[in-house]
Symmetry: C2
Subunit: 124 residues, 2 copies
C-alpha cells in the first residue's frame, strides 16, 4: 500500500470525528481540505483501511455503512430519531463469545451488539 495524501486525510478526518460517519459524510468533510477528491477515492480508501484493520465498518442501519476509528472492543447505540451512533462500553456485555461457546459450542470471531432507542438528546 503506497502513501497517498488522500488516504492520510481521509483517515485523519475519520479519527477527528466521533460521529461514526458514512462515506458520503466523510466525502463532504474531506472536500474541505481536498476540493478535488473523488467519492470513489473515499470509498476505496475506507474499504482498504477496514481490510487492513486500521478502522472498522459498522452496518448500523438498514441503509448506509458507517465507519469507526475506535478499534477497542465496544458496542453501539443508534438513535432511531436522529440516527446518531453512540459508543457503548464493552463492559455492558463482556465475554459474549465465551457465553456463545458455552451455550452452543459455536466459536465466534466477532460479536456485534447494536442497541436501538431514543437518545437523551432527542427525548427533549
Amino acid at each position: 500500500m503506497n502513501y497517498s495524501k488522500q488516504r492520510e486525510i481521509i483517515l485523519k478526518t475519520l479519527r477527528e470525528n466521533p460521529i461514526h460517519p458514512t462515506a458520503d459524510m466523510l466525502f463532504a468533510l474531506v472536500r474541505n481540505e481536498l476540493p478535488n477528491v473523488s467519492l470513489a477515492t473515499v470509498y476505496r480508501n475506507l474499504n482498504q483501511l477496514a481490510e487492513q484493520g486500521v478502522i472498522r465498518k459498522i452496518s448500523a442501519l438498514d441503509d448506509k455503512v458507517h465507519f469507526d476509528h475506535n478499534l477497542e472492543s465496544h458496542y453501539h447505540f443508534i438513535c432511531i430519531k436522529c440516527k446518531k451512533v453512540y459508543d457503548v462500553p464493552y463492559d455492558v456485555a463482556p465475554d459474549l463469545a465465551k457465553a456463545l461457546r458455552e451455550h452452543t459450542g459455536l466459536e465466534a470471531l466477532a460479536a456485534d451488539v447494536l442497541f436501538k432507542g431514543i437518545c437523551n438528546h432527542c427525548k427533549h
Copy 2:
C-alpha cells in the same frame, strides 16, 4: 390490511423455512406456488408484515436484508463462509437492555446481537 393470496403464501413460505431468507430467496420459493408473483409484491408484503410486527427484519449481515418469522427474543450467528444465519438463544446474552441502562442510562427499545464466525458445517 386486506387479505391477499400472495401475502398468505409469502408468510407461509417464510414460516416453513428456518433459513432466514432474503426477499429474492423468498421470491424464488413463492414462485413455485404462484408463478406470476412479482418481486415487488414480495418486498411490499415482507415490509408490511414487518411493520405490523408479524415478522422481523434482520440487517447488518451483508448487504441484503434477511427475514425472520421467529418473534421470540433471540440473536443470530452468521457463517462468514456459507453466509447461513443461525439462531442463537436469548440466554446467551440476557437482559442486555438492563445492563445498558445500568451502565449508561440509555434506554434501549431493542438489542440486536450478531455473532460472526465459521459454522460447524463449514469447519470440515
